[in-house]
Every structure is written in C-alpha cells, then in structure tokens.
Amino acid sequence: MAATMKRILSVLFIYTSTTLNLNIYAEVVDDFKEELFIKPLPSGHVYFHFQFTTTWEADFENPKSFEHYRLFPKSLGHVLTTYKVQELHLSQTQGLWRHDKWGYPVSSAPPGAELWVWFQPSIKSLDDTWSELVNAVSGHFCTSLNFLDSKSTAAPRWSFRPHGVASDGYSSFSKFVRYGALPREIVCTENLTPWKKLLPCNTKVGFGTLFKAIKLYDANYHSLGLDVRPVCRDSDCKRTSIELSQSLSVVFDPSVKNNEHQDWSLKKILGDVLSSRCPLASSSKIFVDTTSNIPKSIFTLSPDPDSVETITRGGEKRQYAVYDVGLQTAGGRVLNLGAKYDNPVQHNDIIPPPIYAQRYITGYGLEQGGVTCLIYNNLDTNLTVIYMETLPWFTRFYFKSLTIVNQNKQIHPYKVHYIPGKDRSRSYHLELVFRLRANSVTKISYKFERAFLKWTEYPPDANHGFYINSAVISTVLPTASNYTSTPQSSSSIETSFQDKSENFFLRIHTETLLVSLPTPDFSMPYNVICLACTVVAIAFGSIHNLTTRRFVKLDPSKKRGLLAKIKAMFIKQKNTKSDETSEKETDKEDEKEKDE
C-alpha cells in the first residue's frame, strides 16, 4: 500500500508557481552582421576572411548595461565587467602571413597567441587583475595564456594605442595597457569550439555551417581573432557602443590538388555549401575582390553576383562582387560560390606591398647570437615607423650593439623607449621610432647573450629551443595599395567601401624566432653513475692493492723458469695438505687424551 501511495503522489505533479512581477523592460539594442571577404591572391592562394560584428548600445562604465544580454555573449560580458576591461584583443594564429606574396591581411596577427588589453581608468592593482584576466581568458578559449606572467608581459608605450574611443589623456598613459604573446601556442579545434560558441547563430545556420575543422586547419594560414572595443554610437559621437568583432582568416592553396589551376569553390575548399542565412543578422553578405579582373578578366564567378561595386580607396581602384546570402538562399536554393580560371597559375614576380619585413637570427654557437630585421620600403616617400621588440630574459640584449643602417648610412632613431630585462622577473622591451628612406631596405641588428637556465627551468622538450616573440612594426601608409583593413570607426567590411581617408594605419608582425640555449644532457645522471662507478672501481681497487700489499724481497740469482714455478706451486700444495693432516692427527690425539 505504501508503494501505491508513493506512486500516486509521484503521479500527481506538484506545481509551485512563482509570481514574480517582472517590470524590467530594459531595452537591449544590439546589431549583428556577418560577412565573408574572399580575395584571390596573385601567388595562387585564396584568402577567406569571415567577419562577425556585434554592436551593442551599452556603455562600459555603466554596470547596469551588463545585466541583460541578447546577441552579445554573456560569458564574455562577464569577463569584461569583472576585470574592468575597456579593450580586449586576442588573436590565435597557426602559420605565418607572407606579406611579400599576399599583401596585407584585414587584421595582422603573429604566429601563436597574442593578447593585448586596455583596462578602464578606474582600475586598482592592475598587475593582479592582469594575471586573473589572463587565467579567465585561457579557460574560456582553451589556450595556455596563463603562462603570460610578469616575465612575458610588457606595457608598450607607442605601439598598441587603443583602437576604439578613448580620450587623449587616457591613451597616452601606457600604464593601462598590457601586452603579451606566446609564440609556441598551438591552435586547433579546441580553440575553434569556444570561439564558435560566442556567435549568435553558432554553427546551426549562416556562415557558421561552413566551419569544418578538418578543412580549416588544412590551410597555409589560419587565424582566430576576437576584438572588443568601444565605438561611437553615431556620427556626433556623444555616446559609445561596445563592438565585438570576431574574425576567422584562412589562406588556402587550391592549385596544389587541382593541377595548378586556381579554381576554387565553397564546396571544394570549406567542404560545404551555404544553404541558410543567420536570421539574427541584420546583414549577411559575401564580398569577392575582383580587382584582378580589371582590365582583362582572369576568372569568372558563378553564380553571378547580386551587384558589383567599384570604389576608389586611397587612390587605388577596387572592384568587388557582392552577394546577399539572404537572396541567394531564398526558396531552398544553395549557394556554392566559386571561380573558374581560364589559365593555370602564372608563377611570375609578384609586386610586393609598400612595406614588409623579414627577421632572422645571426651568429653561431650557444653563447652569443644576434638578430637582424630587414624592413623594405617600396614607396617613393620616406616613412616613419615604430618598431617594437620584446625579448625574453634569457636572451640578454646588448643595447649598445643596436644599429640601424640604410644604404651604409647609420640612422639615429627619433625616440627610443627601452626597459632592460631582469633575470627571471622581467623581459626586455624595446621601442624605436625612426624614418625609412624611400625605395630602400633598412637593416636593424643587435646582439644578445644566451643565459644558462637552472635545470628545473627547462621545459620537458628542452632540445626544441625557445621562442622569441615577433617584432611589431607600426606605420601610416599614404596609399591603400594591398590594404584590406577596415577604418577605425567600424570592423564591418562594408564600411571600408565608404572610406575616404587618406592615411592608412598599418601594423605588421614579423616571424617568430627559435633560439637554442645551452641545454644539459638530461640523461646525464645515468651516465654519471656508470662513469663514476667505473672510475671508483679501477682507481680504488688499484690504490687498495698498492697500500695493503706486502712486498717480499726475491733473490735475483734464483731465477726460475716457468716449469720450476709450476713445480713450486705443487710443492706448496703438498706442504699445506701435510700440515693439515698433521694438525688433524694432533687434534685426534688431544681428543683421545681428553677422553682418557
């Protein structure tokens, strides 16, 4: 009976209704745009850049705006408010962007992971907040950013100014910014997964359906970017909004598997076609850069674009084919955007962009070394650049060895900001401002010394080497040749079509360097034991013999041959035996005597 009673009670559902009068009518106004920018590169590669921009009419300083979320991800908002962040820029990259062959990316990123953050002016104890923020972001994105401690963090003075709205007084204070980079950081599916989850439509509809890890990581260059910053809400700019820009840049090489033809399509490269549009997006468009089709058509797009825009930016003419995903996928159709080339790839000389750089290690041996960076200026005008380097503490930088040479003439930098490193607590931070001559190569070189690490400080794969962060070069270009970045007002690609500015801010990252430090042989303990024991056995044995052996004088006249020696041995034995038997007899006699 008890069982049935229980049964009855469990069948009867108990409703507890709560009556909460919710009068909150907080208006959350946000806007989401998804864009895909495709640019075929002259080297035979194709550059895909996915741009997801969420603009949220909220204010960083007002904590109430972070109570209700709609399209802006709540987990990220929580991180921003807890750690009083004003701007956050995170990039995770696999591969190196080849400036000389591919031009400029929409946003530059070094190989590995890079994080730079501007904190709000009301923050207290910035260093503690930075170490906590770094842990929170690392858990969020499955990267090991928690290794960015005081040994690898710098506060750049001129290179990483705020990208969003900021007052002059605030942005000139480099005490609010922190920069750290991990060149060794691997990017794989586990980093793509949490990044994808921040998108409003995730991978269910829209561009998210094209994210197949097997295709995205089989590329020459892959970069995940996340940028949060305050932007002007409207043209008077009396109020700010928060802009979240998520970008995924991939460079594929379709000609490798296609018999040198650069034909590409969404299905071939990304593995899937577009069959839907994210309904939460206010705009969902694809832009294909068809500038190379002027004057002569090299490739044909299929299907035909919805519109073709011809714009002039910074004196350069550009043509874009625009596809509206909503129109193309209406009525159950699928969009398999592709291009067909008439001829195979021509491996000619590619016209390099206005500025690019190359950096490498010089020297030999494991005691000292040098780094040289060559910056190429292909413009007809002189350019001012800011060059930033961060060296780890175990590559001890010699400041007086720093030289800048252009066509055999020494160049003196206008400004120098140098913070020397301290063993095991701070890294070396160098920022230089100098001028590049027109149409020339400028060479910056310096020497360093390699330190001995303590044996516990080596990583488990110590013989791989240690990485040096990439150098960051910032400049302002007078022309938009090869330039694809968006203007400062918005990260949406469409806004670059109306860009009427004449100066274009550029930031490029060089290669990361791999340095071998003097590494002990970690199999040494085993070798030492073998060697030490052998030495002890030989040496000790000999000395023991020497010290305890008694030397007996031999008569030299009694020289004995070999036979005589053997006979002597047998005689000795007989003697000992007879001694024994005589001893036994005496013992027996003694016993007999005792018995008696």
Binding site: N23, E27, C142, A166, P194, I214
Partner: protein, 344 residues
C-alpha cells in the same frame, strides 16, 4: 479527481507490477547524483601518438554516454591533431582504417601542453587550485559525485611518467585519493590505467569506494595494437582498443554492468593480464551499471513536501521602457584614439 479514480481502479495491477520493478530497482540503485571524468594523457612527442588516441577515445565515449564538457577535465600533453607531422590536420584516429575521428568537432581540452604536470594533476584531484583558476579547470565534485579517472602514458613499477620530465608515484596517488575521500569529493571512484606495469599504480590505495582496473600486472608490459602506415606510429594500445570496442556498443540507457567491463580484454587479446581491484568497493561490480561511471544518468530525488517561495516584486530599482534610455550623455564629442602617436 478523475485521475485519482483511474489510479484506484488500476491499483491492484499496479501493486503486482510494482514489486518486481522495485526489486530490480533496488538491485541497480546507486547513491550518486552527478558524474565527473578526469582523463589524463601524460606523454609528449609524435611517437606517443597512441596515448593521445587512447585518452581521446575514452573522452569520446564518455561524452557520447552523456557527461557534458563542463564535467570533463581533459589533460592532453601534446598536440597530435594540428601537429605538422599529421597528414590529416585536425584529426586523431584510433584505427588504421580511419573510420572515427576521435578528436571530433567540439573537443575542449582543459589542460594542454606544458600545463600537464604532476602538480596540476594532484591539485585538480584535491581541489587545491589557486583562486584565479578558471571554472573549466576545476574538479567541482561533491560527496555524491561518481568520478572516472583514466590515465595513460609510460609507466613502471610504482610510478607513471609525466612528459618525460617527472613522475607521479603510486603512494602520491593513493594519498591524493585519500585527501579526496576526507574532503568528501567523491561518492565512488573508478580508476582506469593503461600503462606498463599498471597494477602497481593502484596497489597502494586505501580509501573506500574505489574500483580500479589496470591493463597489466606488475612485471608485464602493456602492448600497443597496430601501426598506421600513413602516420608511421602505433595508433592505439590494446587494452583501450578492446575497451573502446565494448563502450561503442553501449548507449546512454544501457544496462551493461561494470562486471562485464572488467572482463574486457582477456589474455589472448591483450597479451598482458588485466588486473582488477575490487576490495575497496562496497557494491558488487556485477550489479553496478556501466553508466554509473561512464555516463551521466542521474537519479532524481522527489521531494514530498511543498516549499513556500516568497512572492517577490522588484521595486523601482529596475527601469521601465521610458526611463532606461537615460544614460549619462557626455557634453563634448568623444573621438577615436590616435593609433600612430608620432608625426607622420
């Protein structure tokens, strides 16, 4: 009213079916309410590909049977999927026929690369992590959690090697589990280890409610299964291969028992002898469901008393449609920061 009448009419029938059901229910009753998994791969370098494939196979099974990512702590010491030597990037296969990509499309690795150290492992188990550690790296288990701990790598008699640089000994591990017991961090624990001489790792356990299985006895080596000629390395270990075969057949509502799982991989398949330790475990493994450790089947406790919740109406703290838009408007125009602070 009608419902109660119907139930009274069906009561005799219900009573009859109830008793047999209840007996079976008592049989399989477990006292846990949530499941956690701590999966550790301790080996670095490309030739230890099989250890990463091992741990990802168990991760895949555990996720498939219902444990969510937030309850799994996955520690992988090296990256095999996006390794430049991998001919198929973003994939890890545990079979030369490359049917299943155990890396998957939504993997979340909590501790990767250099973070997989003995110190971090023991801290995760005992919960003594620094306060700034993100939530995904904490093992937030309580006294009603069933935890699965799986370890794979290179080991020896009494120790397990972490990344070729340090070792965790069986004494340390036993003490860590005892700390967990004293802090009430687990209800029941299932310890699986796939290394050489694996039995030595659980010989020193002394805390209650631990069921342990190892792929080889002391003095025996655990062997790997087969080579993938496309990769040039062994892709999976024997014990995990056959364990995975068993787990692939299980579904979230499966009635398979732990007793059946402990019999996986007899000597003719594994070549090494599987060792089992059941003396610390209070229930009979033949009556414990596989999903008690590998899945996330939850028991719900039904409360028979009503709760009175207070009637809250939020006061004027909230803003209404008209008043919400009143933020502080700055009188002067704001502008973007100058990105290049030098004269051009």
């Amino acid at each position: 009213m009608i419902v109660i009448l119907l139930i009274f009419l069906c009561a005799p029938w219900l009573v009859l079916s109830n008793t047999s059901e209840e007996e079976i229910g008592e049989f399989f009753k477990s006292g846990h309410t949530n499941n956690w998994a701590v999966l550790v791969d301790t080996s670095r370098f490309w030739f230890n590909y099989r250890h990463v494939a091992n741990v990802l196979s168990i991760y895949r099974s555990v996720k498939r049977l219902g444990i969510p990512d937030s309850h799994i702590i996955l520690m992988v010491a090296d990256d095999m999927a996006c390794n430049p030597r991998n001919p198929r990037p973003a994939t890890v296969f545990n079979n030369a026929n490359q049917h299943i990509n155990v890396y998957g499309d939504d993997v979340e690795v909590d501790y990767r690369g250099y973070e997989v150290t003995v110190e971090n492992f023991i801290r995760v188990l005992t919960g003594r992590l620094p306060p700034s550690t993100p939530r995904s790296k904490h093992l937030l288990s309580d006294e009603r959690s069933n935890i699965l701990v799986y370890m794979t790598g290179h080991g020896g008699d009494g120790f397990l090697k972490f990344q070729d640089a340090e070792e965790v000994s069986n004494v340390e591990l036993a003490d860590a589990f005892e700390q967990m017991w004293q802090k009430r961090r687990y209800h029941e624990l299932f310890f699986m280890v796939d290394t050489c001489q694996a039995q030595s790792m659980f010989q020193r356990f002394y805390s209650p409610n631990i069921l342990a299985v190892a792929s080889s006895h002391v003095g025996e080596d655990s062997l790997s299964h087969h080579v993938d000629p496309a990769l040039g390395v062994y892709v999976i270990d024997r014990y995990t291969f056959y364990a995975l075969e068993f787990l692939e057949k299980a579904k979230p509502g499966s009635k398979k028992t732990m007793g059946q799982f402990l019999k996986v991989c007899p000597k003719y398949q594994c070549i090494s002898t599987v060792a089992v330790r059941t003396d610390l475990f209070q229930r009979d493994p033949n009556q414990v469901l596989l999903t008690d450790f590998f899945g996330s089947v939850r028991n719900v406790e039904i409360l028979l008393n009503t709760l009175a919740l207070p009637n809250i109406t939020l006061t004027s703290d909230t803003c209404s449609k008209s008043s919400c838009g009143n933020e502080e408007v700055s009188s002067r125009s704001l502008k973007y920061a100058d990105q290049f602070p030098m004269p051009v």
